[in-house]
């Protein structure tokens, strides 16, 4: 029972982990990307489009589908889709120095609009009775798990029973953490986010770092959308079903104090908190909503505690949200 709850919490937490790892990369370059919900949504629908086209091309027959292609095509589509969103964001905020908050919020609205537009169009193409697209065949490939996990009892269920996107999320978070803290690229990136003028004076290409961090961060975040569609909902896309996961991912960045390793545990905790209402008996519709509030309550508490402790390492990058222009004094 407990193992099942933990497994479920991890499953729910993975989109958040992708989202917040991506956002951490972006924020480390000094850009607060509030477009993450939209980017994750686009990441999801891009994967759906890729999967849909591949399934169509194979005549909707699992026999004709190649496992590698069935995974690779939606995966790449998702990465490209969300990267394009990141490119829009970085062009506006880095090159044109537009206000980051406004741009991010606009991008969220835009991304959800795009997602719903293509989602609606695909639903129409399938002539389905239901307002959703069903991609169970592709989802089947994404949901492959280690065959021997079931034989290992609770250990297997907690640690080995997951889909590859789950392990990938943890690996990506660990890699990002390593890059940020142990490599020259990471040092340069952190310098850009903390004090772009200093980084510039040290000969670091600030614009390049900002662009790359935003686009790579967006690609990582977009995978969260892909995991949601292909694994969590078993390949069923319905418009607006993604909910507030994007905002939770941004909250998780604050909760994790801009550390990807913290985000791993934070995402599992958030996953558990999001799900806790299902395990408590006798909750009405109204009281369930109160429980769904928990991740935000935890985030606010973390903010309050870290603000009170005033430890500089726990603060956001110093120039987060500020545009950088060399000639400005």
């Amino acid at each position: 029972m407990i193992a099942a709850i933990i497994r479920r919490a991890i499953l729910l937490g993975i989109p958040l982990l992708y989202g917040s790892t991506g956002e951490i990369v972006t924020e480390k370059s000094g850009h607060l990307n509030l477009g993450i919900p939209g980017i994750m949504y686009v990441g999801g629908i891009s994967g759906v489009i890729g999967a849909f086209l591949y399934e169509q091309a194979c005549g909707n027959n699992v026999e004709n589908m190649n496992a590698v292609l069935a995974i690779l095509i939606p995966f790449l589509c998702s990465v490209v889709g969300s990267m394009l969103m990141g490119l829009i964001y970085s062009f506006l905020t880095v090159t044109l120095r537009a206000n980051q908050n406004v741009t991010g919020l606009a991008l969220t609205t835009f991304g959800i609009g795009i997602g719903n537009f293509f989602g609606g169009s695909l639903i129409k193409l399938t002539n389905s009775e239901m307002p959703s697209i069903v991609l169970t065949k592709t989802s089947g490939f994404y949901s492959v798990t280690l065959p021997f996990a079931d034989d290992l009892g609770w250990f297997g269920e907690i640690f080995l029973s997951h889909e590859f996107l789950t392990y990938l999320a943890v690996i990506v978070a660990l890699v990002v953490s390593f890059v940020l803290n142990r490599t020259r690229v990471g040092l340069n990136l952190r310098a850009v986010g903390e004090n772009p003028a200093t980084a510039d004076a040290a000969g670091i290409n600030v614009t390049k770092y900002k662009y790359l961090a935003t686009c790579i961060g967006s690609a990582i975040a977009g995978l969260g959308g892909l995991q949601y569609v292909m694994v969590y909902t078993d390949g069923v896309w319905s418009n607006d079903a993604f909910g507030d996961r994007g905002w939770l991912a941004i909250a998780l960045v604050i909760f994790a104090l801009w550390k990807p390793t913290m985000a791993i545990f934070g995402s599992f905790l958030f996953g558990a908190l999001c799900n806790i209402h299902n395990y408590i008996d006798g909750l009405g519709v109204a009281t369930q909503e109160l429980f769904k509030m928990l991740p935000y309550v935890v985030t606010v508490s973390v903010l309050v505690i870290t603000s009170m402790r005033k430890k500089r390492e726990h603060q956001p990058p110093e120039s987060l949200g500020l545009p950088y222009f060399r000639e400005e004094r």
Binding site: R190, E194, N195, T198, A199, I204
Partner: protein, 510 residues
């Protein structure tokens, strides 16, 4: 004959119509410390910025090690092994010293441990005391400066430029820095230090180059010169400006400052036991090197700066009583008629809101007077139009955002607004900075009019010629202390120049 590390030939740099450097020729040799001496705005920093690649000279040549060099960016300067330590440190606060030092250098595989070892060697060689794993935000100013110096050395610089390195240091820290600089000189590095402290020049450098108003005055051997010769080279001869100056009418003490002390946020003392009296119907000039505490002094009077100890007494002409301003809020002080038309480095910074139009900026001072819940626009509008007409502000209309006006017009708007409130004390800091001759005279006339009306005017200026012609008395401030008060009618530039560079109270030669 030592080898010349850098030779500048006829360097000229202009910003718009302002000539920052004109025909400057300089030579720095290896194993030598050269001081560059000059007043504020004499072009010292501009010149050094050209060597370090921040600006590009309009005319002239730079030779490095005897070969002509083009330095178009900080990276070029770095390639020529030139390292500049700016007055404002370029460090990442949450990084450790070591991380800051290796930032941006690509020397093979990233290995902080190995780099730390190399940095430690440099520290030992020159005698720096530095904890490399310490985070910058926990460091003192002097430690940060050490990080900056080690940073340029780690990058292999053998020509070092330090822009006013002692401005932020305590005397002990300064001595330590000088010891390190001498050691670097002895290892054959060329060092240029920008300063305006005469005693440092004399104790540290081998030669001194003097700049005055962008022009190169000359270079002298430190061993053969003395303080008064350098002062004369620095301030030059008096220039007549013909600013009218009426005899003060019935001067009475209006503002008495008693022994005030102030510290800035880092806890560095900015004002040290400052006492003086400002009289009504008189212009009191304040002269001093930039950053000697002028800003803090004015802000302390206006109630914007916390005073650690001491009192600011205001003789209220209405009640005839003395009020202690240090116990009042800025708003109460304003109501008494103490007006600060502060023109800080950034003109719009403290007085006006750039995106608001002239009328709205007038309203910033009067919105509390309205009786209904809606804003009263009529009065401010009339005032704005009055100022535009009286002071000949060049603007398309009163509804133009202040940000779009030229510097002189912005200043006219600001000073005009403060004068319109019929103040009893008017403080103006650098009100003519960046203005052309005509606008400057308009401002001088405004100040003179206020003086004639019996206002106590405090004028912080940087041009000694102006101070000498405009002010009745000139108070000189150096490192937060009053180093002297002279009569504006009889004082000489050399006298003020010496007082400005005198730092340790009575001893100029400390």
């Amino acid at each position: 004959m030592p080898t010349a590390a850098i030779e500048l030939k006829n360097i000229t740099k202009t910003f718009g119509s302002v000539v920052a450097n004109k025909d400057v020729c300089l030579t720095v040799n290896r194993g030598e410390i050269l001081s560059i001496l000059g007043e504020n705005g004499s072009g010292k920093t501009t010149l050094m910025n050209m060597i370090s690649g921040i600006y590009f000279p309009d005319e002239g040549q730079i030779f490095i090690n005897g070969e002509e060099a083009t330095i178009a960016s900080p990276k070029d300067a770095f390639d020529y092994k030139i390292g500049m330590i700016h007055q404002h440190f370029k460090l990442v606060d949450v990084f450790t010293a070591a991380e800051n030092i290796v930032l941006g250098i690509n020397d093979g595989k990233y290995n902080l441990k190995r780099s730390t070892g190399e940095i430690r060697k440099i520290c030992e060689k020159y005698g720096f005391e530095l904890d490399l794993s310490k985070k910058v935000y926990t460091m003192s100013v002097s430690e940060k400066q050490t990080v900056e110096i080690v940073k340029v050395l780690y990058r292999g610089a053998d020509i070092l430029i330090l822009d006013e390195p002692t401005a932020v240091l305590t005397p002990q820290e300064t001595q330590k820095l000088f010891a390190v600089l001498r050691r670097m000189r002895d290892t054959g590095k060329a060092i240029i230090i920008i300063t305006h402290k005469l005693h440092e020049v004399l104790s540290l450098s081998d030669r001194v180059a003097v700049l005055r108003k962008g022009e190169y005055v000359g270079t002298v051997e430190t061993a053969t010169t003395n303080e008064s010769e350098l002062t004369e080279m620095m301030v030059g001869h008096k220039v007549a400006l013909n600013i009218e100056r009426a005899e003060p009418v019935d001067p009475k003490p209006r503002l008495e400052v008693h022994h005030i002390n102030c510290s800035n946020r880092e806890g560095v003392k900015m004002l040290d036991d400052v006492s003086f009296t400002a009289n009504a119907g008189e212009i009191l000039g304040i002269a001093g090197i930039a950053g000697s505490g002028q800003r803090e002094l004015l802000e302390a009077i206006a109630g914007l700066q916390k005073v650690d100890s001491g009192a600011v007494l205001y003789s209220n002409p209405k009640t005839g009583k003395m009020d202690n301003l240090t116990t009042k809020t800025p708003l109460q002080i304003r109501e008494l008629g103490v007006r600060l038309s502060f023109v800080p480095e950034d003109r719009l910074g403290m007085g006006l809101v750039g995106n608001m139009d002239i009328v709205d900026n007038m309203m910033l001072r009067s919105y509390r007077k309205g009786k209904s819940m809606f804003l009263e626009r009529k009065g401010p509008k009339d005032l704005a139009e009055h100022i535009i007409e009286e002071l000949e502000v060049v603007t398309p209309s009163a509804a133009t955002p202040v940000r779009r006006l030229s510097g002189g017009n912005v200043q006219k708007v600001l000073v005009g607004r403060e004068i319109a409130a019929s103040p009893t004390v008017l403080m103006a800091a650098y009100p003519v900075r960046g203005l052309d001759i005509n606008s400057s005279y308009t401002i001088y006339n405004l100040l003179n009019e206020q003086k004639a009306c019996g206002v106590a005017v405090i004028f912080v200026g940087e041009d000694l010629d102006v101070l000498l012609e405009l002010c009745d008395r000139i108070m000189v401030i150096g490192s937060g202390r009053i180093t002297g008060v002279v009569d504006g009618r009889t004082a000489t530039k050399e006298q003020i120049g010496l007082l400005m560079t005198k730092t340790d109270g009575g001893e100029p030669n400390a």
